[in-house]
Point group: C3
Chain length 435, copies 3
């Protein structure tokens, strides 16, 4: 078999899947609010406009060309024989979705879902680049991500590519499995966020000359937590739509998926809240919110394949992971990630991918699923990180991604947009400025 | 018949019901925004974090054990013979939803809906306890509510329990009927809010030594009204999903349910706006918003069983009730309820329950439905109020629920979280402080 | 044939359509946030309360009487013979939706959709009247719009009226076609916004004595862009539900509709961002947001009838149109439209109507579709503009629509509501005041 066939979905499953995809923009809105709320007030309009722009660029570029490389099981692809096995490397559908009837077929639903999902993934690096990443750089970087990085890896996993074929070709479990996108969407975005944070460097004033970080609190906690609640609905859509399209879940399994998604989020947030309370004496609202989203990111891969109690465990681990990882990046690695994007989406997501190997139950249980997941994780880190780092490094050479010092002092809003987010409110403008 | 059978729902009805439940988090988000907006700026992060935590604790605890007592028609329950009739007192399903296939069956949909609904109900007392209720107290109190108070009463009404059996056992109408949760969700939360407000006492500075209340306006009206609009979508989900699962509505009835829900909300808000304009010369934005939510709360019980013109009437009465009740609690009873939670959810909800007795039309009209509703109201007040008061009073003995005076002066944000919601904005910090 | 028959929709199509209508309140929430964010902080509570009130009045009045004139294909209507052809002029259903079983029939779904849609349309003029339109005037004007202006034109297009009959009667294409409401909803609201802006006149301080406008930036860009993201979901609901009900789209076509809607919005916003960057050196966040919504407004009419690449083009043109039009109204016509409502909804919407003539593909292509669209545009401008202007002019005579000078100085919040939106935040109250 040169490529995996498209799944058969009932008419009811198609309608349900369509409705689930309609909810995905709430995941984007949630991340936009979280990133904005965790940044500074003088960059808030910039953060929101950049989010809107990134969603727009991602959808447009994916439509124009990304969908060609991304493809879907059963659609045209470049397949090479390697060791006597067909390796499906890259989609080769026409640009502009030409030739794909947009009639509710699984392939058309997948194309639509990806137009939204790539926008969600593209928002993740914005959290890491907050308060210093130029708008034009964001748009260009998003275009690269939506045209190449995301669809290529997505093809391997969701498009019938070689990672999905590992089971058919080499009897490694069911091949790499990622129902809702813990790897393909969350970790791909999170790993790109790491590349961006490295390239941009920390904000002025974040680290003293002695290298000690100073806390720069988010400017609006309300936005952050509203983003968590809206994000939950978006993730329910992402996870259930992905499970239907990419792992063949039936409509009734939405109950299991939703309960698992919810349990992962709530367990992770309560874990983060408890840990911060135990360590710092008071719970930390930002980290609790980060925990919530980390739980969501971790829930996606195995959402339809584990039991609720296991989803709870996935959440608890994700919440702990995110909490310690945020500190590790800030203090240990001196990576300035205002939104916690790397910890939440890269580590949370990779843990979710691993959870498939640990917990997933299939109708037909096959051996070595954990191996397929490890291969997928290695591939993700081995492909997305250098690709994102390399292409954004190149972009940075052509056009500096980071705003000038003066812009960071003024705030991104005034410098890049010529107007503040909240022009009528009096703010403590002199705080958290470079010393 | 020892217990009521589970309803039969078509495959389409199941998918529709699932989608409706996906919208319920917007009810939670709406209440979180309303409670936060009606509180003070220096408690705003606390209000949002407490909302997220309450939703999380409620879902988790309901999953772990509440679902066991709550159950569903047709699932295991403790049934005792009393006067020759089987009385179904308490669910007895296994903990952690074990043994319940999460496959889209009505029982599984009900379990999922309840995991979300109990979180919505748990947010109601937060409105009454705003600006002074400690986060740990909120979490503990929510755990009690989700583990015991909510599922027990819920079992009696929605789980095939004795209130639902009143018709079968004693020919009292169709038994107690509450399609979308005016009683089971709204009034149960609202009555618990009253218990909390009594236990906590009013905010410092709310009442002068002469006992006169001073107005403490909410800090952000935008959040409040955004909460109303988001809440509408959540309630449409709550009402229609409940009607399908608990009163056997067919998919097509969603049109009637949605029109009724909307008419109740809009009539109630316009009534509140008109009354406040007539009495104070200017319409009051907070009370108009409270009226809107009161209309939603009142719409739930009979949403699928009345005509639109009757829903309008339900809304008008709810709007008037809420407006006068807020004043009655503030001036007459000296109960400090910053979010108006008691008036909106307890009185609005109980009025909605009563409306079933007045207006509901069933395919097979049976006598004495009003009596079943009155028995339900008496049971609700007689069970939930002492249970919530007693357990929270006990909790308050073990661990004081109310923040120290110094915390109220600083604001909950700084005192309990160590950080403000809006650290960069300049606020009038000295206003509305204890004299 | 005296009137067009009601469409036949499968049971699945009905359930899908119902779910889509459930999302429409997000369009209302989005517009409310955009209007509020683009206004001043001292009118923000007023803007939100007015939005809630307009949604409420519109739904209520449409339910009471507007639905009677609006009607639906196959329902009672006044039909006159003119030139040997039946002209369907006005619906004649009973008031209060009596006689219409609210059971999921297409006519009942249409009635429910319209109760929400008329509220969305009624929010459009609020953007043009921001910071100076009295709340009572808004309610009265909305009542007129929902009782008469909107349902009459809506009947002609969506209710089987004479514009829809142009094809059957005179072989002009398929008659006037407007799947999601670019004309019936957006342009009708936008043209009414123009009437309101003319009647109210510009804000104090907007134009110098020499007639030069001064920029008055919106007070909260976060709300504006959050409104764009939430609005996308609402529009997906509006467009797909309208296409199913009014142009007979099958459930599977939701993929095409959603991709088209999204592409129009993202192309329009990126176009506006690019144009403002090229012209002013920096991108303008408000105009980018306006572009986004203009793309949505333009996408509606042909959402189910064009190819994605054409939707992209529709968006690009809409984005450019909105950007230049905002300036033209502000500088050229001296019309003060703080929310850009006229440019976004009237021009964006009319362009969308025209796009049907240019791009639409029907299963059975008929000649002269462009003529039907031009007749529709002429009718819309010829009927809605004088009707809205005339009735609101009359209203203004009976009760002045514009707040007193003192109210504009104080802000609408304090003057009309007696309370501020953000009472605890310190604002630059003296800026942007009349000189």
């Amino acid at each position: 078999m040169s490529s995996l066939p498209a799944p058969a979905i009932s008419e009811l499953g198609i309608a349900l899947c369509a409705v689930l995809i309609l909810l995905v923009p709430f995941a984007a809105a949630g991340l936009a609010l979280i990133n904005t709320g965790l940044g500074r007030s003088r960059s808030a309009a910039h953060a929101m406009l950049a989010s809107l722009s990134a969603v727009a660029v991602a959808a447009l570029v994916y439509f124009v060309c990304g969908s060609s490389w991304g493809g879907f099981a059963g659609r045209p692809a470049h397949v090479f024989m390697l060791g006597g096995k067909p390796w499906n490397w890259l989609g080769s559908s026409p640009f502009f979705l030409r030739g794909l009837p947009l009639d509710g077929s699984p392939a058309s639903l997948a194309a639509w879902l990806q137009m939204f999902s790539v926008g969600v993934a593209a928002l993740i690096p914005l959290g890491a680049g907050a308060d210093r990443w130029r708008l034009r750089g964001i748009c260009a970087s998003t275009a690269i991500f939506a045209a190449w990085t995301y669809p290529v890896f997505g093809h391997w996993v969701w498009g019938g590519g070689w990672l999905a074929q590992l089971g058919v070709n080499y009897s490694i479990g069911h091949g790499f499995v990622d129902a809702g996108g813990s790897g393909t969407l969350q970790a791909a975005g999170g790993v790109t966020a790491l590349a961006i944070a490295w390239i941009l460097g920390p904000r002025r004033g974040k680290y003293s000359t002695a290298g000690m970080p100073s806390a720069i609190p988010g400017h609006n906690v309300i936005l952050v937590i509203l983003g968590c609640l809206m994000g939950l609905v978006g993730w329910l859509g992402l996870n259930a739509a992905g499970a239907i399209l990419f792992t063949g879940s039936v409509p009734g399994s939405i109950v299991l998926i939703a309960i698992n998604t919810t349990l992962a989020a709530v367990s992770a947030s309560l874990t983060a809240e408890l840990i911060t309370r135990l360590r710092f004496g008071k719970p930390d609202a930002s980290l609790t919110a980060n925990g919530w989203v980390g739980g969501l990111a971790a829930s996606s891969a195995a959402c339809s394949l584990m039991k609720p109690a296991e989803a709870m465990l996935v959440g608890i681990v994700a919440g702990a992971l995110v909490t310690f990882s945020v500190e590790w990046f800030e203090f240990g690695l001196r990576v300035d990630d205002p939104g916690g994007a790397i910890s939440v989406h890269a580590l949370g997501g990779l843990w979710g991918v691993l959870a498939v190997g640990l917990f997933a139950r299939f109708p037909d249980q096959l051996p070595n699923q954990w191996l397929a997941q490890l291969i997928g994780i290695a591939t993700l880190i081995g492909f997305v990180l250098p690709t994102s780092y390399g292409l954004n490094w190149l972009l940075n050479r052509l056009y500096p991604q980071r705003v000038e010092l003066e812009g960071e002092r003024q705030g991104m809003d005034l410098h890049e947009l010529g107007a503040d987010a909240y022009p009528e409110f009096v703010t403590h403008t002199e705080e958290y400025l470079p010393r």
